[in-house]
Amino acid sequence: MSHPKAMRTVGLRRARGVLANIGRFAVMLATTYLGLLAVTFFIGRVVPIDPVLAIVGDRAPASVVERVREEMGFNLPLWRQFILYLQQALTGDFGTSVLTTNPVMEDILRVFPATLELATVGTLIGAGLGVPLGVVAAVRRGSIADQIVRIVGLIGYSVPIFWLGLLSLLLFYAKLKWVAYPGRLDVAYEYTFTPITGLYLVDAAWTRQWDVLWDAFRHIILPGALLGYFSLAYISRMTRSFMLNELGQEYIVAARAKGLSERRIVWFHALRNAAVPLVTVIALSYAGLLEGSVLTETVFSWPGIGLYITNSLQNADMNAVLGGTIVIGSVFITINMLSDLLYRLLDPRTRAR
């Protein structure tokens, strides 16, 4: 005896709730992008004493300086410059790199997959180890697992990542020779391997080049584990906190009253509920790893966008620096906002509103 019309109403209401959430998300995202572009505009044009010199370098002849000034519209009033800047940024035109003379966007697209791959490996390790560790720590408060989570977390929040990276290189590369360094692949493979997606692990597995896969793995494992550690410190702490919160709720008592096993209660009932804020935590951790890539890639000579930015910095290539900032900033912002949206969509209670 089902009432199809009633079911449709429920479905419609839920769908409308989802759409409303996505709409709000899009507006917030657009506003924040605008803010990011405004800040980078400010940094690029307003902050330096002569922004043109920042781009062409201070040894360029006066005619070049004037030409660039005219081309880039520096003689226009500030607000018109901003509109121009917005147009350029939205079409992906971040100017030309002084160092490589390529369009900045092209350079960035070339190096970005390396950072993505590294951040993904780090987050997989962080979440894969961190969530179970946090669950166990919550279920057995005061136990060894609980102490481990606290200590790991404490150290993770206190240690400089680049220093730990240096030390781990010293130990695992220089002394033990367990891992490979620098870069993503050995010189032997570097020029013979044609990437498809830019994610070497995926590409090598896809084309069944197992030796390349092994080499790529040996290169990525140390920086990946390093980032994984920081991700683990954060995720395990948050998992523990969320699980403790859920395990104190009444529905857990009700589940026990139904006679369900503790294992099912913890991993199916409590974790299911904790998963809602946990997914956003994992997304935020991913974003954080992207940001931290700047330091890690410098230590490991990992050719990603972080290294690109720092190299451009050393060479006073402002276009590249700002372009890289905008790209990382945009991805960071998107992930942040997406995680908020994800939270709303995953929790049936907020989904409908």
């Binding site: 005896m1 089902s2 009432h3 009633a6 079911m7 429920v10 709720q249 009444e250 529905y251 008592v253 009700a254 589940a255 026990r256 009253a257 139904k258 006679g259 369900l260 096993s261 503790e262 009932h269 299911r272 509920n273 809602v276 929790d347 049936p348 209670r349 409908a352």
Partner: protein, 277 residues
């Protein structure tokens, strides 16, 4: 008639940093296939009694008793596997507020079939059929629709009925109802009580009805235990309530207003230290 539930000298204590809290202090009673009400104010230990019987006392609570047995099973010696079999299958408990006691990310139907499939080996389809049957038994008009709803999408009364369905679907012999109607509107309370009444009667279950409302309990149960500060201060049949002797019980009775009377000054519930002795 052998009693369904035997409780002798039950005590529940919580060791805390600032001292030992005695929530329940040596109470004894027996329950057959009848309805027993436990009445008391907040902190009297009534809820803790119910949870102790179900083995749901949260840590660091310690449950001690001379005897605690249900239908021949010694609950004091029961291991985790025994408890998992008893709870939901032979003894059930319904909690106060469905807003909090139902899992928010699972549909109502799923939560009911979960009980079934844990205690009996039946197919998904069979479980769904029995769950729908149970939803009808608690007088939910459109069981198919409610089956796929989430707890926050139904009203309080319907949520509580879903909880009853969830806990009774396996046909337990004992039901402990911990303030089952306290979170509901008054009109809905009567409906839910009616459903409980019918189910308990039809299945011949034993019922422990825990509440702070003496009048409610007296209209529903055969016997009443009045608890104060962890002890039972009076035990009598509901029919004999009017002739209660303990001053605390009399105080509770006096609290309920009667139509057409005017009392000046309003009676105040007295509490004396010696009752807690």
């Amino acid at each position: 008639m052998t009693p369904l539930l035997t409780v002798r000298n039950l005590s529940v204590t919580y060791p805390t940093r600032t001292g030992i809290i005695e929530a329940v202090r040596g109470i004894s009673f027996e329950l057959g296939r009848e309805r027993l009400g436990i009445v008391g104010e907040s902190g009297s230990g009534k809820s803790q009694t119910g949870r102790a019987i179900m083995g749901l006392t949260p840590p660091p609570g310690i449950v001690r008793a001379d005897a605690l047995s249900f239908s021949g099973v010694d609950l004091l010696k029961a291991g985790p596997a025994t408890w998992r079999e008893m709870r939901g299958g032979r003894m059930a408990m319904i909690l106060q507020d469905p807003k909090f006691s139902l899992n928010p990310v699972m549909t109502i139907g799923r939560q009911i079939t979960e009980t079934l499939r844990h205690h009996e080996t039946i197919s998904k389809r069979e479980a769904r059929r029995r769950a729908l049957e149970m939803l009808e038994a608690v007088q939910i008009a459109d069981p198919e629709r409610v089956f796929s709803l989430y707890p926050h999408e139904v009203s309080g009364g319907m949520g509580q009925r879903a909880m009853i369905a969830m806990m009774l679907v396996c046909g337990p012999e004992l039901l402990i109802a911990d303030e089952p109607t306290s979170a509901l509107d008054v009109t809905v309370q009567l409906e839910v009580l009616g459903i409980l009444d019918r189910l308990v009667r039809d299945k011949g279950m034993g019922l422990i009805f825990i509440s702070h409302d003496l009048r409610l309990v007296s209209s529903f149960c055969d016997r009443v235990l009045v608890m104060y500060a962890g002890r039972i201060v009076e035990e009598l049949a509901t029919a004999d309530l009017a002739s209660a002797t303990h001053p605390y019980t009399r105080g509770l009775l006096d609290c309920t207003p009667k139509i057409g009377e005017s009392r000046h000054p309003l009676p105040v519930l007295e509490r004396r230290k010696e009752w807690a002795a």
